[in-house]
Every structure is written in structure tokens, then in C-alpha cells.
Subunit: 225 residues, 2 copies
DNA sequence: GATGGATTTCAATAAATTGTAACAGTTGAG
DNA sequence: CTCAACTGTTACAATTTATTGAAATCCATC
């Protein structure tokens, strides 16, 4: 069974411990952050399956943190609000949070919501947008400026991986393991070929691809702004 | 007996609880959302048999929510309006709602309307039209440019699924599970045969089928404009 | 149980993608 | 500036996938 990584974000250490106390015994791997900035830094370099994000925090509040996370990640986010806090929940859900829960909550409610959000996010087919470039899994289609860009399955998968992990550098080896599988027996040069084709097709469509799909010399490739 | 899932959408928690109090004892499975955005997100990833949608909500009102839901789903929708609210109900029903009910309502009226809408929707047979191509479930008939196109039952079902889900790519596996059933033991190539026959017959009738029923190489087929 | 249409399978062919190897071009450390 | 290592490009071979027609099977109906 898959172990889910949950990122807990709250300025109160005590609350973090309480959340972990609820989640760890259920098999969730918990990572704790005491500020929005720390959470963003974590997510930029690591993967999480879910974020539990407190709204009321000093420096940078939960909504702002949520907004910034959404600029580079589609990780499911559950907002944690205190009863009586006069925050506009609807506004928050619009920013991109997936659900919210009100403190104080009991263990079963917390777990139920987490499971619901995870279940929803697992089956969800991604639809990503980046500077006008749309990558739609359900339609298996890439669009820019209104017209379709025809990509082969491999090209489509590679582009999707980059879009899902902006700014992260992938070595050719990593790309092969992720997209071809562990026991694939593929030359690293093959990745170059696909990258070349992706660049060509997107450039053709007028998308400033060279600005985004970048070569990191001696390491691999990354999608960066 | 089938358990119906009802999606309740209202910005007031109290109203959601009240509705659930009425519906849950009658065997309806209730899902509650506090905003139109949350409701749309839910429906994009989950199934519901009915939506009870409050008109007066901040941010995105019920009509707008209804309109957006209709862009991807045919789920029956009952609008909930407050007495005295000066909304144009006729206008709303045109948008695609199936019925409406005025607050305050009593339990029996609510239940009666829900049952009526569900009964109607269950018996409802689709009739779709696409660029002059008419697919009529009640008559089990397909027409183009005035004359009938004779399709076998399987062909008819496949075409119907595509018309009901424009732009969505179906893998052969998905088509088999959806139209043959989970435990069907059918070769994937069989789908190709049916697709070939559908294409042949529609092409024969003069319909520009190749523009619509498209092969998505390495993935499956889709109905796209 | 024979008939005829519907459905499914199969195999040959066609088409497209993917992988490879060779080489040219580029980069950056020393 | 030089060189070794890395990256980009190209053409083609290998592989995978789609299409098609024909044959086999299924199945309701007479």
C-alpha cells in the first residue's frame, strides 16, 4: 500500500504535534513546517500528496501561502480555519484549496476529509496551464493560442512531467525511470531526441519554448520560467 | 434498491444540515458543498444523481454555477430560491435547471420534487444532435441529412458514448469496461472493428466522420470537432 | 436445427512512433 | 585557448500500433 506524505503547516508547534499524533498511526508520513515560506521551500524541492495548511499564521497567512503554492503545484490542499475566524472560505476555495476543516476538529472528521481529498485527487485527470500553454490529460491534447499541438504519447508524457514539476531538474536517467519504468533499457540520448521534437513542435506553434524547457548543462532538463 | 447521491450546495451550513436531515433518513446519500466552485470541483471528479443548488450565494451564484455544470454534465438540477428573491426563474430553467423550489419549503414538498425529478431523469432518453447528425435513443435511430443510418446495437452504443462525451479520449480498455462491462473478455481489436464499421456507415451517408471520430494514436479514440 | 445478421477474432498490411548510432556543435574547466 | 565532455541533430532501423477484410462464432428467431 502506498504511503502518503502529508505536509503540515502551522505556526504553533503544539498543533503540528497534535496533527502528527492523529496521522502517523494511520500510516501517513508527516512533514512539519512552521511557516508558509518553509512549506513553499519544501514543496519546491520535494513531493507531497497533501498539504494541511493553517489559515491564521504570522508573516504570511494560509491563503497567501495557498496562492503561491498554486503557482507551481497542483498538490491537494486542505485549509485549517479556527471557528469564529472571519475568513471568507469561498474566496479561499477559489484560490485553489480543495477543502477546509474548522478547528477544533476531532480525529475522525480530519481523517475522513483527508481520505476524501486524496481519493478525489487520485482519480483526477490533470489539466495544466502554463503561460497560455494548455496540457489536458482527459482530452490528451496540448493547445497554444487556440490551436492544437499534436504530440506523440511519449512527448505528451514528458511534457506533462515537466509541467507538473516546474523548476525541478530531471536527469535523463530520472526521466527514463519515471516515464519508461525501472527496468527500461533505454539510451540516455533517446531523451534528447524527444526533447528536440517537443521543442520543435512547440516552437512551430509559436510558444516560446526555449524560455521554458531548459537544458541544465551536465545534469539534465528542467521546466523553468 | 439504488442509493441516490444528492449534492447539496448552499453557502449556509445550517441549510445544508437541514437538507441532510430531511434526506438522509429517506436513504439519500448526501454530499455537502458550501460554494459553487466546490460543487463543480466535486462533480468533475465524482458522480451525483441530483444537485440541489441554492440561487443566492456569494462569489458565484446558483445560476452561474448551474450554467457551468451544464457545460460538462447532464445531472438533474433543482434550484432553491428564497421567497421574495427577485430572480427570473424562467430564465434559469432555460439555462438548464430541471426544477426549482422556494424556501421555506416543508419536508414533503422537497421529497416530492426530488422524486419527481429523479423519476423523470431515469426515464429520460437522450436525443443528441451534432452538426446535423441526430442520435435518438428513444427511436434507436441515427439520421443525417434527412435519411436514416442503420447501425447495429453495439455501433449505436459506441457512437452514443462518444457523442455524450465530446473531446474526451477513451482508451479501448475504457470503452470495453463502459459498454461491455467490467468482466467482459473482449479483445481490444474488437473495438477497432466497430469503429471501422461506424466510420464506413457514416461516411456512406455523407457525414464527415473522419473529422469527428478521431484516432488518438497510442491512446484510443475520441469525438472531437 | 437451419438461417441470417451481429459480433468477435484473426492475420496481413499500412502507418506512425520510438530508439539508435554517428556526427556536428557547444560548453566550460583548467 | 584547448580539449574533453556534453548536447543537439539527423537519418534510418526497430518496434509498436492502427486499419482492414475475411473468416469464425454467437445468438435470436423461425
Amino acid at each position: 500500500m502506498k504511503v502518503y506524505t502529508v505536509l503540515l503547516v502551522d505556526d504553533e508547534k503544539r498543533m503540528l504535534d497534535l496533527l502528527e499524533l492523529y496521522l502517523a498511526p494511520k500510516g501517513y508520513h508527516c512533514v512539519k513546517c512552521e511557516s508558509g515560506v518553509a512549506a513553499i521551500r519544501y514543496l519546491e524541492n520535494n513531493k507531497a500528496d497533501l498539504v494541511l495548511l493553517d489559515v491564521m499564521m504570522p508573516e504570511m497567512d494560509g491563503w497567501e501561502t495557498c496562492k503561491q503554492i498554486r503557482e507551481f503545484s497542483n498538490v491537494p490542499i486542505i485549509m485549517v480555519t479556527a471557528r469564529g475566524e472571519t475568513t471568507d472560505v469561498v474566496q479561499g476555495l477559489k484560490i485553489g484549496a480543495d477543502d477546509y476543516i474548522t478547528k477544533p476538529f476531532d480525529e475522525s472528521e480530519l481523517l475522513a476529509r483527508i481520505e476524501a481529498v486524496l481519493r478525489r485527487s487520485v482519480g483526477k485527470q490533470a489539466k495544466l496551464e502554463f503561460n497560455g500553454l494548455v496540457w489536458d490529460e482527459a482530452q490528451h491534447k496540448v493547445q497554444y493560442a487556440g490551436h492544437d499541438i499534436f504530440l506523440t504519447p511519449k512527448e505528451f508524457a514528458i511534457l506533462g512531467l515537466f509541467l507538473k514539476n516546474p523548476n525541478r531538474v530531471f536527469s535523463r536517467e530520472q526521466l527514463i525511470v519515471t516515464l519508461w519504468g525501472y527496468n527500461a533499457n533505454t539510451e540516455e540520448r533517446t531523451v534528447d531526441s524527444h526533447v528536440k521534437n517537443i521543442r520543435e513542435k512547440l516552437r512551430q506553434a509559436g510558444f516560446p519554448i526555449d524560455q521554458f524547457l531548459q537544458t541544465v548543462w551536465g545534469v539534465g532538463y528542467k521546466w523553468g520560467g
